[in-house]
Amino acid sequence: MSVELDVFVGNTTIMDEEVYQFWLDGYTVNDAVKVRMEGGVLEECEASAEVLRSDTMDQYRTFQMCERLLHSPAKLANQLLFQIPPHRQTMLIERYYTFDGVFVREVLGKKLSKGTKKDLDDVSAKTGVTLKSCRRQFDNFKRVFKVVEELKGPLVENIRQHFLLSDKLARDYAAIVFFANNRFETGKKKLHYLTFQDFAFCAGQLISNWTVGALDNMLEDMDVDLEKEFLQDLKELKILITDKDLLDQHKSLVCTALRGKTKAFNEMEANFKNLSRGLVNIAAKLTNTKDVRDFFIDLVEKFIEPCRSDKWTAGDMRLYLTHYTNSAHILDTFKHQVVWDRYMGVIKSCILKMYHD
């Protein structure tokens, strides 16, 4: 005897959040049943393994049918096929678009192309996230990317409205889209210590300060691309390192301010020119797309690593960057204060976020 067919359909669609998570995580029905059995739901409800299996299959089927709708979440609210209470709809969407930190770290900044998708099995093997789940997450990134690519206006808001996501999740997606669009390199070994949230924070900084939309929300253009003019202007900062006087003046101002306030003062003093060159060079090169991609790796190589080897504390770093930024204002021959602030504001918060083990 075998069950040929087994369905359960409720007028209000029944969805178990636990099973939904298994489904999202790409568990097979069998695995999900196993985990559920271990979870003790059986004793709780006097059910048998068979019952659990039937329930799990049923839920999986329901989710599969819903998946199409989840691809354009706005449809979920006005579709007629499933009667789902609004708070459940929100849950379904939010969870569907939630991604694994380890996974996103692997594809962050990569082109969301078929080629990348083909390599997902390697990613899956590496991260321990099931291939099915990897694909779902990847497709989500791609879908969001494709939709907002053609939309005007603020990125985060677009994502939030179009995919009905929470603010937090929308911001994360904005970061992913931003990284994918600018193809920031995040996979190098030196960057491995950085988490997705580090990058997401940096992306947020970049989006809100360096893009076109950053200055004027009303502007027609979107804020996926860095503002070209600004990048051009950054070249002007070079004077800080090319002009020997300016460099020395800057150094002495910073050292005066720092003296006695930190244990790492000697290292700071010794390294000032190197560090300053590093930062200003990064700024000057950003007109090059290639160098934009290496933005984070440059930050780490040119600035974070030297500081780390000198055993700066986070406090030291904050102190140094504050004075480094502020002292430039006192330089009377330095005329690019606005660009400097716009640049250093982002650099400072990014470095502070990235400066950890």
């Binding site: 087994d6 007028n11 019952v51 007629l80 499933f82």
Partner: protein, 1070 residues
């Protein structure tokens, strides 16, 4: 009365991509009614077209309006090739034809394609202008209201119940026409859908005409079914109960509706008495004080009739006792009348005679005194006799002339006659809770009908002043002079309820036997009613109706199922039919025995909502009986079950038996706890009566199984010396009155196994197949209607009956377990109206479909209610005494009129019953109801209206303010890519979800927010996995309604409140 039908196509959304190149669609719409077609413009390159068409107007006959659906087809325009159909929407415009139903259909409706399922939605507006034209010879019946609900709809008052209406239309099934070989599956499916839509329209119109002829204005309990007879055709048939309903005027609505609500809401329907207890036959009831030839043996075991003195007038196979008529019939048409007696004198006791005379005259003119209602206005149901049922095996032949469906008509006529005669044999003049069904396999068809024999109060049937249309049904006798006035339609509502009181007290009257106790149609143990102690009641009662509101129940009820599989040889034609009809009586008997055993095991004494389905397959027959068991306080406590072995010599065998016995005893004890069955200690008020009763018990237990025909001279109160109170206090399963099961044959072992294998229901769950669960009153608005379908493949070809039984039982049990698991988040909750349908779609396949609603209730208030009820029962006793006096009077005078003129005491009783019921429904689930307010938002514009669906006739905590019309939809879905759609389960899952979606959308378009009395009457699933194909047909129906939360309605007028509080809250139904 011709009319103008107007339709406007507003917009479409979520359309499928029809042009691969552009990923868009150039959609336009064809609107067709009858032979007229209109088209919209093409809206190019959009998946969300805005047509905003003009109003398309169709000037049509009202006959067509009733028959035809409005057909909307969405197409993709293609310049070079034929336009591709995206899908269709059929709109039944019948609800627009009654002024009291919906006025406009407006909203988003799913576009449906039989191959692809739902493909987007379309927004339409449909209106009808009817011209008044009173043509006497009209063929239409616009304005007659239809209700699937099997009780009086909530915002109506019944003025008259006219009786049974039926109609049947036949046609050739398009699927089997020659043209089907050359047309596409889509065309064939659409032809079928359209034909059935037309046929149902025609059927409804014809039934409407009959209703108008009878002078009614509505059909309640409308049940429409399809018989897919394959080669021989397609039959659409319907039955219903014609009524004259008065709409409660809006002004008085809050007031009066509360009345109706309180009457019907909590427990809905009156019950019936089914005292067909064939398994009892070995223990003849004995009433004589001095048994003439007392055999004084042990209680005769059930299955050993021949060995112990066989009761004189009871055949050894009680269930197969057929009505005499069937014997002369063709061998192909045996009928089994459950609980119907053979040759029974129809003269009842003097008391009953009068009642019968009144009602008979009202009912006799009718060909079929049959009612499809299962819930009745209080007082309607006087006595209940028991379940009557009939089955007939027919060989299908081709329907040659669709215009003359005589054969099918004759078949059903025969069956209804049979039912009628069964009812007569039970001393009843009417049948209530009536339903008909068929099971078809190849050319063999089993027609089944069942109902509950009952005595009805004639008042509702009398053609009153409302009807002057020369009908000859008028009852000459007017036994209630005082009440005539109040019966007029204009009278106050509450007065209608008055005066239907029988001589028996309200809460137990219906269980009193309607037949002559000295000349019983079948063997049963009679005792005096445990409530009024004046009238005789049977020991067990089986009925097909819902539990009457006034019934007093101890503890809670539960779903009881008997399941049976019988193999049969494959055969053709008459041989096949004969073998099936030979098997039927045995199946009925077995099912009945199982039911009885399970009932005893749960320590209950009555079944409500009994539904026995027998399905025929090529090589087996399936039988499934479902009912809700309860402990009726007015009936005697059931005995236990005792197992007896045949060969006592074997020691281990004895041991085996005693273990079994222990298990059974334990189960009974456990069940008593579970269902909270602790019969109140009655009769403490009146020691004399107490003694009398005890004596009764003793007699029954010890007495000889031979009935004493001389006992007619017996007095009411038996005076016996042997009144050992102590021993008799134990009303439970003492050994003496125990129900004996002998396990010397394999059958009995099987029985016991099946008894004990029923898995216990998980904590926090209750289940029943009636409208509501006795003993639970404080429903919250938490509600989940669902359908679950399972198909099992029997892998082993050579299964024995036992093996099959086990499989079938496991299937049902597992299905139930799954349901409990799925719905665990709703605990505490009750699965109500659990409706199982079994089928044998193919050899070696068993299909079980379940539709039910899970309703959660409040635990805390539950306890409070219980307390209130205990208090109520205290008061009850006072009332009891009072009613006893009345009864005493009646027994003495003996010629008490059946419907007693309503004096003061009676009205007091009526009031009290009303109070208790209103109390029950009053605790409103505040918290949960809030969240559902959004459901009230109007359909158009708002995102998506939440539409609740329930198989019940009401939604807890709400008030139905308007009935918008009947929803009756038929869908076919077919696929040629079964694997791609997720296999059979994926296919059916999405189809059922689509059907729900379409039903909800149509309800919302009518302006409604719920569908009540929902049922899935047909779910035919066929598959051919090898060809990657499957097909499924689903037919659903229900009543679209608008409800409002009870908390939103105006406060109850003070007048009513004061009246309520003034009367005592008695009559607790538990």
């Amino acid at each position: 009365m011709p009319g103008k039908l107007k339709a406007k196509i507003v917009a479409g959304r979520h359309l499928p991509v029809m042009d691969r190149a552009s990923d868009l669609t150039d959609a336009f719409v064809e609107v067709k009614f009858g032979n007229t077609t209109f088209k919209t413009d093409v809206f190019p390159k959009s998946l969300n077209p805005q047509w905003n068409s003009e109003w398309f107007k169709f000037e049509v006959d009202d006959e067509d309006l009733q028959d035809e659906p409005l057909q909307i087809t969405v197409l993709d325009h293609d310049t070079y090739s034929a336009n591709d159909a995206i899908g269709k929407v059929y709109i039944d415009i019948d609800p627009l034809l009654s002024c009291e139903a919906a006025t406009v259909i407006s909203g988003w409706l799913p576009i449906y394609d039989t191959i692809h399922g739902i493909r987007g939605e379309i927004n339409v507006l449909v209106k009808v202008d009817l011209f008044n034209d009173l043509n006497r010879f009209r063929q239409s019946s616009c304005g007659v209201k239809f209700f699937c609900t099997t009780s009086i709809p909530r915002c109506y008052r019944v003025a008259l119940v006219h009786g049974f209406v039926e109609e049947l239309v036949v046609n050739e099934d398009p699927e089997y026409q020659w043209i089907d070989r050359i047309r596409t599956p889509r065309a064939s499916n659409e032809a079928r859908q359209r034909l059935i839509s037309l046929m149902s329209g025609e059927l409804q119109r014809k039934i409407g005409l009959k209703v108008l002829e009878m002078g009614g204005n509505a059909v309640v309990g409308y049940l429409q079914c399809f018989d897919l007879e394959g080669e021989s055709g397609l039959v659409v048939r319907a039955i219903g109960t014609a009524c004259t309903l008065d709409k409660l005027s809006p002004g008085t609505a809050p007031n009066t509706t509360t009345h109706t609500n309180t009457h019907t809401l909590p427990n809905t329907a009156p019950t019936s008495n089914a005292c067909n207890s064939p398994s009892k036959d070995s223990k003849e009831p004995v009433f004589s004080e001095d048994p003439p030839h007392s055999l004084s043996g042990p209680p005769t075991p059930l299955r050993t009739l021949p060995s112990s003195s066989p009761p004189p007038f009871s055949p050894s196979k009680p269930c197969s006792r057929q009505s005499s008529s069937s014997d002369t019939d063709l061998s192909l048409t045996p009928r089994i009348g459950m609980g119907s007696g053979g040759s029974v004198g129809k003269e009842a006791g003097p008391l009953k005679t009068l009642l019968r005379q009144h009602t008979q005259s009202a009912l006799e003119q009718r060909e079929f005194p049959i009612f499809t209602l299962t819930c009745f206005p209080p007082g309607f149901l006087v006595h209940v006799g028991g379940v009557v049922s009939t089955r007939s095996v027919k060989l299908l032949d081709r329907i040659h002339n669709p215009d003359e469906p005589e054969t099918r008509d004759a078949w059903w006529e025969e069956i209804r006659q049979e039912i009628k005669s069964h009812a007569k044999a039970l001393g009843c003049h009417a049948v209530v809770g009536y339903s008909e069904s068929t099971s078809i396999c190849e050319e063999v068809c089993i027609l089944s009908a069942s109902g509950t024999a009952a005595m009805l109060n004639p008042r509702f049937m009398r053609e009153g002043c409302l009807d002057t249309g020369g009908s000859d049904h008028r009852l000459s006798r007017q036994p209630h002079p005082g009440m005539v006035g109040s019966e007029r339609g204009e009278g106050e509502v509450s007065s209608t309820w008055l005066g239907f009181e029988d001589a028996s007290p309200p809460s137990c009257g219906f269980v009193h036997i309607p037949y002559d106790e000295f000349n019983m149609p079948f063997p049963a143990q009679l005792t005096y009613c445990y409530h009024c102690r004046r009238q005789k009641v049977p020991d067990v009662l089986f009925t097909t109706i819902d539990l009457p509101a006034e019934a007093e129940v101890t503890g809670k009820g539960c779903l009881i199922q008997a399941r049976l599989c019988r193999t049969k040889k494959k055969a053709q034609g008459e041989v096949n039919a004969t073998s099936i009809s030979n098997l039927l009586p045995f199946m009925e008997y077995e099912l009945h025995t199982q039911l009885m055993n399970k009932l005893k095991l749960r320590s209950m004494n009555a079944l409500f909502g009994l539904r026995i389905q027998i399905s025929v397959g090529e090589n087996m027959l399936l039988g499934l009986a479902s009912a809700t068991g309860v402990y009726l306080s007015a009936l005697p406590a059931p005995g236990g079950i005792q197992i007896a072995g045949k060969t006592p010599s074997d020691l281990s065998y004895d041991q085996h038996i005693s273990t079994m016995q222990k298990r059974i005893d334990d189960t009974i004890a456990k069940n008593k706890e579970l269902y909270n069955i602790h019969p109140p200690k009655l009769f403490t008020l009146d020691p004399e009566a107490f003694t009398g009763l005890n004596t009764e018990c003793i007699e029954e237990v010890v007495g000889s199984p031979i009935p004493d025909r001389q006992r007619s001279s017996r007095l009411f109160r038996s005076t016996s010396e042997s009144s050992d109170e102590l021993s008799e206090l134990d009303l439970s399963h003492g050994k003496k009155d125990a129900f004996v099961l002998e396990i010397d044959d394999t059958d009995a072992v099987e029985d016991i196994q099946s008894l004990l294998t029923d898995a216990p229901i998980p904590a926090g769950f209750y289940s029943c197949n009636t409208e509501v669960m006795p003993g639970i009153h404080n429903w919250t608005s938490g509600l989940q209607m669902f359908t679950s379908v399972r198909v099992y493949r029997l892998s082993n070809a050579n299964l024995t009956n036992q093996g099959l039984n086990k499989i079938f039982t496991d299937l049902c049990e597992n299905l139930l377990k799954s349901l409990y698991f799925k719905l665990r988040s709703m605990i505490p909750c009750c699965l109500c109206h659990l409706n199982f349908t079994v089928a044998v779609p193919e050899e070696e396949l068993i299909q079980v479909a379940v539709t039910a609603v899970a309703m959660s209730f409040d635990k805390e208030t539950q306890q409070a209610a219980d307390k209130a009820l205990t208090r109520g029962s205290g008061e009850n006793e006072e009332q009891l005494q009072f009613s006893m006096e009345m009864c005493g009077e009646s027994t003495i005078s003996n010629n008490q009129p059946t419907a007693k003129p309503s004096g003061v005491p009676e009205s007091a009783m009526v009031h009290s019953s009303r109070v208790s019921s209103s109390e029950r429904c009053s605790p409103l689930p505040e918290g949960r109801s809030r969240s559902l307010r959004s459901t009230r938002s109007l359909p158009c514009g708002a995102p998506v209206t939440v539409v609740k669906m329930t198989p019940l006739s009401f939604l807890p905590g709400t008030r139905i303010v308007k009935y918008l019309g009947i929803i009756n939809m038929f869908f076919i879905r077919e696929t040629t890519s079964l694997r791609e759609e997720g296999g059979v389960s994926g296919f059916l899952h999405s189809f059922i979800a689509e059907v729900f979606a379409m039903v909800r959308a149509h309800v919302a378009a009518l302006g409604g927010n719920a569908l009540v009395s929902y049922s899935m009457k047909e779910c035919v699933f066929m598959e051919n996995p090898n060809k990657n194909q499957a097909q499924c047909l689903i037919n659903v129906s229900g009543d679209a309604v608008i409800f409002i939360r009870e908390s939103d309605q105006e406060a109850i007028p003070p007048l009513l409140t004061s009246r309520q509080t003034s009367s005592t809250g008695a009559d607790g139904t538990t």
